[in-house]
């Protein structure tokens, strides 16, 4: 069973190491490690409900009770009895301790298996279930419920409970996006701690006492802060559900794709849950350099347009003032012809800070090939909220700076003036709605040839001579650089509807059509070519970026939520 101490590779850099015996095996861990984390590193998972590494540890669910022992304290001059590994024999305590809130100590023994620990778990499991509705088939959490999961492993086959269950409020409206079923609540207080400790909006709390304890929202208050849906993620059971997602889809049918939120410059890491061509929900994915384990409601819920009926699904060419369906080939030929028919100074290209690096790179190639000087990116700012949201609402402004070499917004007035003065005769707009950016229909009408790419039908598309249906973030692979200078990767969750296409493909074809050069078969090729040209990307490939991204630029941007978490971690309040 036991072996000599072996360092656990997952430990942070050498600090004071402590010897701990876990299920008979001696291992070393940094001083101050919580017992539950030491066990996790030793692959002895301790089931838990209330513990969350990013929140304080109230130790209330008691699911993590384990058997613990310490070497006896020697009396002066006494030699302690040693085991075969040379460690002092452990004096096991008759009472279990919680693994979540206690830290390890030199010579400590932990048994996550064995009679005491198993009895405790079974007992707690049974007690959690007696007043819990046993109707998993109609609960929206089924399939990702910790109560369901652990009761399979640690529960009794049948209920001993011969009493009436406690009745509590169901389907409680506590806020615009989150719904509460008090009968399913196991009173772990995670949601309460989240609202108090992370969102600074302590609107949740318990009322009543004992078994009648009821989670509720403070009278006159609502759970409506922009981070409210994180409570749904961390609720271990089906007590808190998302109004947007509940009963839309059984979770076991969903496919998860690791991607990014593109609704602001933070680039929160997230998972896109989809089934076939439809996105059903987005949930945060842990990245301790970007968004911890959280994301804002605004970003999380902004996906319904992906499946909107207003999606453009076909290239359109205006004939006699009316849009007619066309093939990509016809549309691209039309644009290439227009671009080639005027002087470079008569062309304007308007790009977007929402484009991926790869799209920015190809559009920059186009700018170069054509010799265009009239180009600009539309800026968006004003998002900062002292939590996660960045002031910059474009997800890839740093990509614009790096690849186009311009500041978003720079040169925009000139470009607009050239349009309004009819000096720009051919205008290519990539993913932006100019009429939202301040231009009016009559001004756009002065453009001899306007081509634009869009996800949804809009007023600029309406004015365009050629309209191209673009892919959304959920439909593409590519990279972006967030506000802290981190290079991160988007992954494709679903197929685009109809003929809609990833912008990089269209840009490649357009370059081919205007210049005849090519050689790019995949978005990976685009990145490779870009990496050969741009110093910041040197030596990288799209796949080498990894799921958590890479820091490639220095910026002074700090993430308020992460700064506060660092502070709490330093104080030992959270594990982090």
């Amino acid at each position: 069973m036991s072996t000599a101490p072996t360092p656990v590779p997952a430990s942070p850099p050498p600090v004071d190491l402590v010897n701990v015996q876990i299920n008979g095996q001696w291992l070393k861990f940094p001083k101050g490690t919580r017992m539950i984390e030491a066990c996790r590193q030793a692959e002895a998972m301790v089931p838990h409900y209330c513990y969350h590494p990013k929140l304080s540890s109230p130790g209330n669910c008691r699911m993590c009770l384990v058997e613990m022992g310490m070497p006896p304290r020697p009396t002066p001059g006494q030699e302690l009895e040693k085991d075969e590994d040379g460690f002092a024999k452990i004096g096991w305590m008759p009472r279990p301790v919680i693994a979540c809130a206690n830290t390890i100590g030199e010579g400590m023994g932990i048994r996550t298996e064995g009679k005491l620990s198993e009895e405790c778990r079974k007992g707690v499991m049974e007690l959690l279930l007696i007043n819990h509705p046993l109707d998993c088939p109609i609960c929206d959490q089924a399939g990702e419920c910790k109560l369901q999961e652990f009761s399979v492993e640690h529960g009794n086959g049948e209920s001993h409970f011969r009493e009436e269950k406690v009745k509590k409020p169901k389907n409680v409206d506590i806020g615009p996006r989150v719904r509460l079923d008090d009968e399913r609540c196991i009173m772990c207080s995670r949601c309460i701690r989240f609202t108090a400790e992370i969102a600074d909006d302590p609107v949740l709390g318990f009322t009543e006492r004992g078994s009648f304890t009821t989670l509720s929202v403070h009278p006159g208050k609502r759970l409506e802060n922009n981070y409210s849906l994180n409570t749904v993620d961390i609720c271990p059971v089906g007590a808190l559900t998302s109004n947007d997602f509940r009963f839309q889809q059984r979770v076991w049918f969903l496919k998860e794709t690791k991607s990014l939120c593109t609704k602001c410059g933070r680039g929160c890491n997230m998972e896109i849950s989809s089934r076939e061509k439809e996105v059903f929900r987005q949930t945060p994915r842990e990245n301790n350099d970007v968004n911890s384990t959280w994301m804002c409601d605004q970003g999380r819920l902004d996906f319904h347009f992906v499946n909107s009926e207003y999606r453009l699904t076909q290239p359109l060419i205006k004939v006699d003032g009316k849009h007619q369906a066309a093939t990509w080939k016809q549309a691209i030929a039309k644009i290439a012809e227009a671009l080639k028919s005027v002087k470079p100074s008569e062309i304007a290209i308007i790009g977007s800070g929402r484009m991926t690096n790869e799209e920015l790179y190809l559009s920059k190639c186009l700018i170069r090939v054509l010799g265009v000087e009239n180009f600009a990116v539309i800026p968006r700012t004003g998002g900062a909220d002292n939590y996660l949201r960045a002031d910059d609402l474009n997800p890839n402004s740093n990509g614009v700076r790096t690849i186009w070499g311009v500041e978003p917004g720079a040169n925009l007035d000139t470009v607009f003036e050239n349009i309004t003065r009819a000096r720009a005769r051919v205008v290519l707009v990539l993913g932006e709605n100019l009429m939202k950016a301040g231009l009016e229909a009559r001004q756009l009408q002065k453009i001899e040839f306007l081509a634009s790419t869009h996800v949804l039908a809009n007023a600029t598309a309406e004015q365009s001579h050629v309209v191209l249906p673009a892919a959304t973030y959920a439909e593409k692979r590519g990279s972006m650089i967030n506000v802290t200078g981190r290079l991160q990767k988007l992954n494709k969750a679903i197929e685009s509807p109809g003929e809609a296409r990833d912008d990089w493909e269209f840009l490649r074809d357009l370059i081919l059509a205007v210049s005849g050069t090519n050689g790019l078969y995949s978005v990976d090729d685009v990145f490779k070519q870009m990496a050969g040209e741009i110093e910041l990307f040197k030596g990288l490939t799209l796949s080498r970026i990894g799921e958590l991204g890479l820091p490639i630029m220095e910026t002074s941007e700090k993430v308020p939520v992460l700064e506060r978490e660092k502070e709490r971690k330093a104080k030992g309040v959270i594990v982090g």
Binding site: C61, L134, S159, M187, G210, S211
Partner: protein
């Protein structure tokens, strides 16, 4: 004791009593004013204390052997010594006047009739541990006592014993009365602290939060029971050596027994710890059982203490063999008999009592008072109540009695605070000691008939 003190007729202390703390309780010539207290030698010990080294006071309390009277019997001087020597934060002292343990009714008399004794004891204790802010946390159900204490504090302030420059020294101290809102768990010291901080009284997990190191506002905090703090004054008065001669070794001083239940004269009795036996409590102090009744059971130290059965015999490690009536009323023997002296609440039950009813009554209390923070106690306390409800109602089957024990075993030792033991010990001991009687209250023919209501619905495909 002092035979010269005139007590109210019918309220005279029993000859076996030794009154220190209750010296002025039920006196005919006594009122709660500071003048009366001072006329009777009050605040002399405070003046003496203010002239002493702080450590010397703590040492006196240590040497006196005083053990806390709130329930756990922890040595008071040792607790005071837990304040970290390197501490730079303010130190707080809290008087636990939550007196909520069923069967316990002693602190209320001190507060009603002799409040300045408590105030003096607190000021001395505060001075000793360097606390400059102290609270009396008093249960909601003592509104009168709260008013009396407020008045006493105002009087002490007017005399210069509180506020700036206590007794003319450089020491400043304020004491405030804080009223609870009607929850037993506010008597648990960390729940009390949370409540005082304005939060729900959720007891804190330990470690790391031992109040003497990290208490109120995460500063060192001494929590002591009303009676414990009063003893401090008498320790200074008598000297620790003389005080330690009262009682028995390791169980020194006097303590107030609160006797309730089936005796002729229930009431409070201050005796030297260990100097009277259970039999003497019943027969001498309380005038015996009711006519024609036989002793059945005793809960010796507040409702949380394990019950003793009348015919039990206790073989102790030191060789003594005791019957229930021979047990001396002290901390250590009571523990050796598998129960506890606790808060001093002695509940006597005769053969007219149904044990199923008694345990149901206790379970009702604990289910109502569980704070609900941790799973085993929150869910288990109500479950036990529901099972014993059925036993009393005659709708239980024999296996329910064992189920009751199983639930209690799933609570004990697995909770955040000692309420887990407080609520499981009664059930464990009643089932262990009165199993046959409880089974007698159940119906074997119901065994297969009682099913979980949910199961019935499930069988009918309704859930």
């Amino acid at each position: 004791m002092s035979t010269t003190i005139p007590y109210k007729p019918g309220k005279e202390p029993h000859a076996r009593e030794h009154r220190l703390i209750f010296r002025n309780v039920d006196r005919a010539d006594y009122d709660p004013s500071i003048d009366c207290y001072i006329r009777n030698g009050g605040y002399v010990q405070l003046k003496k204390a203010l002239g002493m080294e702080r450590q010397a006071i703590i040492d006196e309390v240590k040497k006196s052997g005083l053990r806390g009277r709130g329930g756990a019997g922890f040595p008071t001087g040792v607790k005071w010594g837990f304040i970290p020597p390197t501490n730079t934060k303010p130190v707080y002292l809290i008087c636990n006047a939550d007196e909520s343990e069923p069967g316990t009714f002693k602190d209320r008399y001190i507060m009603h009739q002799d409040p300045h004794q408590l105030v003096e004891g607190m000021i001395i204790s505060c001075f000793a541990v360097k606390a400059q802010l102290a609270y009396i946390y008093i249960r909601e159900e003592f509104p009168e006592a709260a008013i009396i204490l407020e008045k006493a504090l105002a009087e002490a302030r007017a005399k210069g014993y509180l506020g700036k420059n206590v007794g003319g020294t450089a020491y400043d101290l304020e004491i405030y009365v804080h009223r609870g809102a009607g929850a037993y768990i506010c008597g648990e010291e960390t729940g009390l602290i949370e409540s005082l901080e304005g939060k729900r009284p959720y007891p804190r997990i330990k470690p790391p939060y031992f109040p003497a190191a990290l208490g109120l506002y995460m500063s060192p905090t001494i929590v002591n029971n009303v009676e414990s703090l009063c003893h401090v004054k008498h320790i200074l008065e008598m000297g620790s050596e003389a005080y330690a001669k009262l009682g028995t070794p390791n169980n020194t001083g006097t303590r107030i027994l609160c006797v309730s239940g089936d005796v002729q004269k229930p009431g409070y009795f201050e005796v030297q710890v260990g100097h009277v036996t259970m039999g003497e409590v019943i027969n001498d102090l309380c005038g015996g059982l009711k006519p024609g009744r036989k002793l059945k059971a005793i809960i010796p130290g507040g409702s949380s203490a394990k019950v003793l059965r009348a015919d039990e015999k206790f073989k102790l490690k030191d060789g003594r063999e005791l019957g229930i009536m021979d047990i001396p009323m002290d901390f250590d023997t009571m523990a050796a008999c598998g129960t506890m002296a606790g808060s001093g609440g002695v509940i006597i039950m005769d053969d007219s009592r149904s044990m199923s009813w008694v345990i149901n009554n206790l379970n009702q209390f604990y289910a109502h008072e569980s704070c609900g923070q941790c799973t085993p106690c929150r869910e288990g306390s109500l479950w036990m109540k529901k099972i014993s409800d059925r036993i009393v109602a005659g709708t239980a089957s024999p296996s329910d009695v064992d189920e009751l024990l199983r639930v209690a075993n799933n609570i004990e030792g697995k909770t955040i605070c000692a309420f887990g033991e407080a609520c499981s010990w009664p059930t464990q001991s009643f089932v262990k000691k009165f199993r046959d009687e409880m089974i007698g209250d159940t119906k074997p023919e119901l065994e297969s008939k009682i099913v979980n209501p949910e199961t019935v619905l499930a069988a009918a495909n309704l859930v």
